[in-house]
């Protein structure tokens, strides 16, 4: 068997992943608003209903709690449902079903029932969407045990992580950054493969400073790191968390213990966010290696702004650069 490789966007990679899962496991079904004929508002499910029929891929009424609540029932009763929430910001509407139900069914039933289900949702700023369409929710799910939260930043990762999420015996929130959806292509094998949940990727090695990030902030981090390295000669390591929860603490601690300096970067608000948790992990495990405070760069602690102001809100290369330079000071 020869390995076929094509250059795909994240959207195409996700579509391919979903198609492969539908093909290999008849328990896999997909549901959501406008995912059938319309292929989803971003076309991630394009063509899937045509290929697999309305029994496997279907539109739902406009009700997020209804989608997640019925998905739980389907997951318990022998299916592997993949639900789409049209934009992650609308997961708040279904928050109770996610947090008090999907996340706790296994716990509540002492393992008798479980929810092998995936909830996909686009999120993220920089693309001028209406209110609540850009919000990053991953930080909220740190306080709601029982869920896994995955957030890919590349087409290759997107495909492998989505397959792993559908395979996973527990409920997985799978957050897809809108800005990255079509922003670049990458070589992706046509075959099915999985990338284990809970493992970060070191996408650039270095020994002076560690950037811990994920999602759309990976490219921002790469660019800021490049400029700072050029300017100062510093060697910067970049870790893409990929899975927010469970968090790959080992990777963070190993890297920061080595570099002694760190910055954590995300779009979500700072307060109680993933960045706060990363700082806390560093504090607990490698405080004595720290030469400078960990820089926390993220969305400000305001609601996600209206489209006209969002570019100022999102962490930018200059803002991150300033933080890196400060952290690299003696």
């Amino acid at each position: 068997m020869t390995m076929t490789i094509t250059r795909l966007t994240i959207i195409e990679a996700l579509n391919q992943a979903l198609r492969l899962e539908l093909e290999r496991d008849e328990r896999v079904v997909m549901l959501g608003q406008d995912i059938g004929k319309n292929g989803g508002v971003f076309r991630v499910t394009d063509g899937l209903q045509a290929q697999f029929g309305e029994n496997r891929v279907f539109d739902t009424p406009l009700a997020e709690s209804g989608i997640i609540g019925t998905t739980i029932g389907m997951a318990i009763n022998g299916l592997r449902p993949v639900a789409e929430i049209q934009f992650a910001g609308f997961m708040y509407v279904a928050m109770n079903q996610l947090v008090s139900q999907a996340a706790r069914m296994r716990y509540r039933s002492a393992g008798l029932y479980s929810c092998p289900m995936v909830v996909r949702a686009p999120f993220g700023g920089g693309v001028r969407t209406p209110e609540m369409h850009s919000d990053s929710l991953e930080g909220v799910f740190l306080q709601t045990p029982g869920l896994k939260v995955v957030l890919p930043s590349t087409p290759y990762d997107a495909k492998g992580l989505l397959a792993a999420a559908i395979d996973d015996p527990d409920p997985v929130i799978f957050l897809e950054n809108i800005k990255l959806y079509r922003s670049f292509k990458q070589d992706v094998p046509a075959e099915r493969y999985t990338i284990p949940l809970g493992k970060a990727a070191t996408i650039q090695e270095g020994h002076d400073l560690t950037i811990i990030t994920y999602g759309a902030m990976v490219t921002v981090s790469q660019e800021a790191a490049r400029q700072v390295s050029e300017q100062t000669g510093a060697s910067i390591e970049i870790i893409d968390l990929r899975t927010i929860w469970p968090m790959d603490e080992e990777a963070i601690v190993a890297s920061v213990s080595k570099t002694g300096r760190a910055a954590v970067v995300h779009e979500a608000p700072l307060a109680g966010g993933v960045g706060a948790e990363v700082v806390a992990v560093i504090n607990e495990n490698c405080l004595y290696s720290l030469l400078k405070p960990v820089a926390r760069v993220g969305g400000y602690d305001t609601p996600f702004p209206t489209p006209g102001l969002e570019d100022h809100y999102l962490p930018t290369v200059p803002r991150l650069k300033a933080a890196l330079l400060k952290t690299l000071e003696d």
Binding site: P61, A63, G66, G69, M74, I76, R106, P246, M247
Partner: protein, 356 residues
């Protein structure tokens, strides 16, 4: 769409246990006696947990005394492959579906019932605390049955208060849209804690809700075992035949407190309770069985005593069953412990050893 049938609850047995309609077909004498016994088991069980709670040996409990006909009638028509979902007050339906009293009792000790005590999966989702959420699970179970072409039917129970939650209405809507094989049973016991049915919705009947979602609805006397059984069986048959969901409102009454933490004298009258005591569902079916010569005083006495003893025996089993270790709360968060949870568990154990 909306007829007289939704004004007057469907009844087969009047207050004196006299059959006022025609007997549902195909019910054996053994079944009748079995359901009657199940109603007693339900009552004894509920009362027993109340008593244990008073002794500090059970957690907060929501008694279901007075609702036994609805509880047993809604689950009696089901097959083993079918599902039931319900709130904390649906224990009687779960017992009817086959869940052991021991399994239910263990839960009242303040632990999730472990697999070895649950025994074979009886397809009863854990008693639900968060009002109305389980109604969507019911519809999801039913959608899966339909997708898998499995022929399973789901009975989804909830209270009158639950009908006010968005989830209940979304559940009815999904059930209608997907023609899900589900019977949504609203056990209208007149109260949601201190809130009377009349303040829960301006509609005279909760069964009216069906039409708005394209779901056929039935209204039934919830203290009339035969009527509940017949109405739910019809709905289950329809569902299994692929004809979609039904909404059933059973009109009954919670004779006890909302829970062991509640004081109902603050919000309801003695007269109201007296009105409903006359309508006790057990009395009614008992009289019917006597009139039909399916039961006499001696047999009844024996059956009732045996039921009480059986409850005691099962409670004993539950109370003798081992409890989880202090670190048991780390189990079943995920199928496998994550590294962080493993580390927290290790720390916990070390601390606990240190403390000893």
């Amino acid at each position: 769409m909306h007829t007289d049938a939704l004004e007057t609850p469907y009844q087969l047995l009047d207050l004196d246990g006299r059959l006022t309609g025609s007997m549902p077909s195909g019910i054996t004498d053994e079944q009748l006696r079995g359901w009657y016994r199940m109603m007693w088991l339900t009552r004894f069980f509920s009362n027993k947990i109340v008593a244990l709670q008073r002794q500090g040996r059970a957690t907060t409990w929501g008694p279901l005394q007075g609702q036994e006909a609805s509880a047993v009638g809604m689950a009696a028509p089901l097959q083993p492959r079918d599902w039931v979902t319900g709130s904390y007050r649906e224990a009687g339906a779960y017992m009817t579906k086959g869940l052991s009293i021991a399994a239910l009792t263990y839960y009242t000790r303040g632990y999730a019932t472990p697999r070895e005590l649950t025994g074979e999966d009886t397809r009863c989702l854990p008693l639900q605390i968060v009002i109305a959420t389980q109604t969507l699970h019911a519809v999801g179970l039913a959608m899966a049955s339909k997708i898998r072409n499995a022929g399973e039917v789901v009975v989804g129970g909830c209270g009158d208060g639950a009908t006010s939650e968005g989830d209940f209405n979304e559940a009815l809507n999904f059930a209608g849209v997907f023609k899900a094989p589900v019977v949504m049973v609203v056990v209208n016991n007149g109260w949601a804690i201190s809130t009377p049915r009349s303040k829960q919705s301006a509609a005279a009947r909760l069964a009216y809700r069906g039409a708005g979602f394209g779901v056929p609805a039935r209204l039934v006397d919830g203290n009339d075992l035969l009527a509940v059984f017949e109405v739910v069986r019809e709905a289950v048959d329809r569902a299994r035949a692929g004809d979609g969901p039904t909404l059933v409102e059973t009109v009954t009454y919670r004779l006890g407190a909302h829970t062991t933490a509640d004081d109902p004298t603050r919000y309801r009258s003695k007269e109201e309770i007296a009105y409903w005591e006359v309508r006790d569902p057990i009395k009614r079916i008992r009289q019917f069985l006597f009139d039909r010569n399916l039961l006499d005083e001696t047999e009844d006495k024996h059956l009732v005593e045996e039921a009480e003893a059986e409850v005691a025996r099962q409670v004993e089993i539950a109370h003798n069953h081992a409890t989880p270790g202090p670190d048991g709360f780390f189990d079943h968060v995920y199928q496998e412990l994550t590294p962080r949870l493993q580390r927290q568990r290790d720390e916990f154990q070390q601390l606990n050893l240190g403390a000893k």
